[in-house]
């Protein structure tokens, strides 16, 4: 038995991801778990260098008394043990302790005109803040970060640093191992935020009022910078909580401990910012209302719409938007209560697809497949994120587009057609295949919904020039709803900040 395991386990562990002990044993034709399960567990753990997603079976699992398991058909909750849920949704990357931070900081070369600064959308003086960590002054480091990026805490957690600052790091070029800028940033910002200290003070009141639509990264960044300069800001948000995608759209394991809300509370300490929850533009007020009631308007409402699959059967039960799944999971107090399918198919190739797929696995789905219509190199999820997905046991299928969703009322299979790159775009090869699915997540992009009339749009987004100026005087826009820059938290923060400075200059002229 052990010999067979030794031969087969690597295939199983590395090729398709580690599955539950149950399915592993089924693989070997065993109906029940008995002592060799422990051996299997240790073997897999060794092979996966401890990154095992399931724990050693509990007594209840051994006895088969657990209500559900990864093998339970359909969309059900409670597939894993409490220990598994807790482990799967802890910090994706552990924070550095003080000594680790100083060692990591010491690797920075303090480059002249550093490439990492250029690569950062918010232009954080990275070598300076790292040197401040290295010299034992993390609070000063945090101030250096926050001066450029008031959401430096969240960005430290969610930035795709591997395609930004860390990709530009000269040590990435030198040895393929960049300075751990993201983790160092988290160390610095966490240190200061843990003290509850807000490092900026509000300027003298100007008597000017600015309306901000959307309490996401763009809106809050804009609001904070305006408040710093003494303006009064009212932020309108359609959702019950502030934070935007930080609160509703980030994978749970990237912002544990309710960090998004803690960051909002900390940010608001600047004063002069009021948030109006449950107020949506177009539903509860119009742009004209804001223009008449405020000295300037900033739009940062993000992309509320979701693209359709345009495949037959899309309306069957079990098919839903990945962003809703991610939001529900974030808001769920008890992960074990979040239902998940046994066979999950995620359609799309971006960060949302990866976040949905990985979290499906973490909730105990047995099989999770990401299907993307183009080649892997075209996926907007970074290589690092893709690797994260595959190491979590997610299978990635490329060059396949959904053709139809099958099932009698609820989805049972998704049919895909293979795609090839033609001279004028993708063409269907005519060959199709089906994937078993009891749950399907659509992650094929979000769209701007309910853009106010009168604003010039470009490619479905609000067209902006310069520091977020829209086609209408007195109205600025930034973040995902506006043109320019990638749809990243850090880009949104930069755009909100820059628009604020432009608004401030205009108001004080």
């Amino acid at each position: 038995m052990a010999g067979v395991l030794r031969d087969c386990a690597p295939l199983y562990a590395t090729g398709r991801g580690v599955k539950s002990i149950h399915s592993f044993c089924r693989f070997f034709g065993q109906d029940h778990l008995f002592p060799p399960a422990a051996e299997i567990y240790h073997l897999i753990k060794k092979l996966t260098r401890g990154s095992l997603l399931v724990s050693q079976p509990t007594h209840a699992e051994m006895e088969g008394s657990l209500s559900n398991s990864p093998l339970t058909p359909g969309i059900v909750a409670n597939r894993l043990s409490a220990a598994d849920y807790s482990r799967n949704f802890t910090d994706h990357e552990a924070p550095l302790d003080a000594h680790e931070a100083r060692v990591a900081a010491d690797r920075c070369y303090f480059c002249h005109d550093a490439p990492c600064i250029t690569a950062c959308p918010t232009d954080i003086d990275i070598p300076l803040f790292i040197r401040q960590i290295a010299t034992g002054t993390p609070d000063a480091a945090a101030k250096t970060i926050f001066a450029q990026n008031i959401m430096g805490g969240m960005c430290a957690r969610v930035c795709p640093t591997e395609t930004l600052c860390e990709e530009a790091c000269v040590r990435e070029m030198a040895e393929g191992k960049p300075v751990e800028i993201g983790r160092l940033q988290r160390f610095a910002t966490d240190t200061l935020m843990a003290k509850g200290v807000h490092p900026f003070t509000r300027g003298a009141p100007t008597g000017k009022k600015v309306a901000v639509v959307g309490a996401g990264p763009a809106g809050l960044s804009c609001a904070h910078r305006l408040a710093m300069h003494g303006h009064d800001v009212v932020v309108f948000d359609a959702r019950p909580k502030a934070g935007g995608l930080n609160e509703y759209g980030i994978a749970t394991y990237k912002a544990v401990g309710d960090f998004a809300q803690a960051e909002v509370d900390w940010l608001l300490k600047i004063g002069g910012i009021m948030i109006e929850h449950g107020k949506a533009l177009g539903r509860d007020f119009t742009l004209a209302d804001l223009q008449s009631g405020y000295d300037a308007v900033f739009l940062g409402m993000g992309l509320a719409g979701v693209n359709a699959l345009r495949a037959g059967g899309e309306d069957k039960a079990g098919v839903r938007d990945a962003v809703d799944f991610i939001a529900d999971l974030r808001q769920a107090g008890d992960r074990s209560a979040v239902p998940i399918g046994r066979d999950v198919v995620v359609i799309g190739g971006g960060m949302t697809a990866v976040d949905a797929a990985v979290q499906s696995r973490l909730l105990g789905a047995e099989n999770v497949t990401i299907v993307y219509r183009r080649g892997q190199e075209k996926m907007s999820a970074s290589g690092y994120e893709q690797e994260h997905a595959t190491s979590a046991g997610v299978r990635i299928v490329t060059h396949a587009a959904p053709v139809a969703v099958h099932g009698n009322g609820a989805v049972t299979e998704v049919e895909f057609g293979y795609m090839a790159d033609g001279p004028s775009g993708l063409v269907a090869t005519g060959e199709t295949f089906r994937l078993k699915a009891d749950q399907v997540f659509k992650a094929i992009g979000q769209t701007l919904q309910g853009a106010p009339e009168g604003l010039t749009l470009e490619g479905g987004k609000i067209a902006v020039t310069g520091a977020g100026r829209t086609s209408v005087k007195g109205v600025w826009a930034g973040g995902d709803c506006a043109t320019g820059g990638d749809d990243l938290t850090v880009t949104a923060v930069a755009e909100g900040r820059d628009a604020a400075m432009d608004i401030h200059a205009g108001l004080m002229a």
Partner: protein, 432 residues
């Protein structure tokens, strides 16, 4: 495996690595473990006169400075000489020496500066079968305040006098340990030689304050709110020690006087450098304190490999080999012209060379928009700073201009060897 057997002033040891007089050599149990680990010899921690034992502080005795990842770079201490009873030390020395016949056993001594005291201690140790004595004229704290240690070592006349007493009252080979806390290291070395010393050992520790507690405003190590200067040692002091060893090795008055090199020896390479500058062997303490006795194994294998590579059959082949190349500034070749050259394939575009040269040197490196860094030969004075700040080894090298080539900076052709003594700008040349 090269033969590392070393004979130093007639004392044979299986390798040139001795443990210096310090806490690691204070007890039989330690010294035996050191010998078992492979050390070639020890200088037993300094013995004082008969009488009530020395008293040490009961707070911290060490201060330190660290590099990245808390790598210990420098250590200072305020410990005094052995605080164990004299007869215990003497008994243990004898026991160890009898058991480890092939290892060098030197006894470090420090007694008041009068002939009777020295005569007495020499008489007491005569029976230990030790191979030699080392006179501790270096210890910079505590004992110096009582007229011993560096208080003697800073006065060449005292060194000569005490050395003479020692040679007169003992037949043991005598090593005089020198303090670096002096303006010209050659003077005490000359005094030791005049007094009849068989060798000098250097350097002892350097007066130092390693750091200041910025909350308590007290130097470290802090004893109940106060601190004092301690003796500095470890990797940080090696360059100072190397220079002092070389000065004695190349001075006409002391040339040929055997030297035991001490000061920051941490690796085989450090040891080889001391030996190349004239040290017949080396003594180690801080490295053993940092890593334990086992490090001697790396020193042994490293020196052996190096000697094999060089074809040296004895450590004597290495000793002093670099001494002829240590000279005064005035004899350096002013017609030796080099230019920094940056290997673009190795460059990682950090720009440190640019910042260093532009901000603090000769503005001789250009930076392009795509972060390509190139040397401006017409500005480069070959200072080497860019090489030193570059994080990539051998990315920037200094390339010699051939004789006859025109130096773009000066417009002059590279000529034959010429130094300051014949340079037209030298006032003493012009005066002739």
């Amino acid at each position: 495996m090269a033969d590392l057997t070393t004979t130093f002033i007639g004392i044979k040891s299986p390798n040139p690595f001795w443990l210096a007089s310090a806490p690691p050599t204070d007890k039989k149990v330690n010294v035996e473990r050191a010998f078992a680990a492979g050390w070639g010899g020890v200088v037993w921690k300094t013995l004082g006169s008969e009488g009530p034992p020395v008293v040490n502080v009961n707070g911290p005795r060490y201060g330190a400075i660290w590099g990245a990842d808390r790598r210990l770079l420098g250590l200072n201490n305020i410990e005094l000489i052995t605080d164990r009873p004299l007869e215990v030390n003497l008994r243990e020395i004898k026991e160890v020496k009898r058991k480890w016949r092939d290892r060098a056993m030197i006894i470090s001594l420090m007694v008041p500066c009068d002939e009777e005291s020295w005569k007495d201690i020499l008489h007491r140790i005569a029976d230990t079968e030790a191979d030699g004595v080392e006179l501790n004229f270096g210890c910079p704290h505590g004992m110096a305040e009582r007229g011993m240690g560096s208080a003697v070592g800073q006065v060449p006349e005292y060194i000569e006098m005490v050395t003479r007493w020692v040679k007169q009252h003992s037949r043991m080979p005598c090593i005089v340990k020198l303090t670096p806390n002096i303006a010209d290291i050659r003077k005490p070395a000359e005094a030791a030689k005049r007094g009849g010393a068989d060798a000098v050992s250097l350097i002892n520790t350097i007066n130092s304050i390693t750091s200041v507690d910025l909350d308590d405003f007290a130097p470290e190590p802090t004893i109940d709110g106060k601190g004092t200067h301690g003796g500095y040692c470890g990797p940080a002091v090696k360059p100072i020690a190397l220079n002092m060893v070389a000065e004695i090795a190349r001075s006409a008055e002391t040339r040929g006087l055997p030297i035991s090199g001490i000061g920051g020896v941490t690796t085989w390479k450090d040891a080889a450098e001391f030996m190349a500058l004239g040290a017949g062997n080396v003594q180690v303490c801080t490295a053993a304190m940092t890593y334990g006795f086992k490090i001697v194994q790396e020193m042994i294998s490293g020196l052996s490999d190096y000697m094999d590579r060089k074809g040296f059959t004895s450590t004597a082949d290495l000793v002093g080999r670099a001494v002829p190349n240590v000279t005064d500034w005035q004899y350096l070749n002013l017609n030796y012209v080099t230019k920094a050259q940056i290997n673009q394939d190795d460059c990682i575009k950090c720009g440190r060379c640019y910042a260093a040269c532009e901000d603090t040197s000769h503005q001789a490196i250009a930076m392009s928009a795509d972060r390509t860094f190139t040397v401006k030969d017409e500005e480069c004075v070959a200072c080497n700073l860019c090489v030193n700040v570059c994080p990539v080894e051998n990315c920037i090298t200094m390339v010699e201009l051939p004789k006859g080539a025109v130096d773009p900076r000066t417009g002059a052709k590279v000529g034959d060897y010429a130094n300051w003594t014949t340079h037209p700008n030298n006032p003493s040349v012009a005066a002739e």
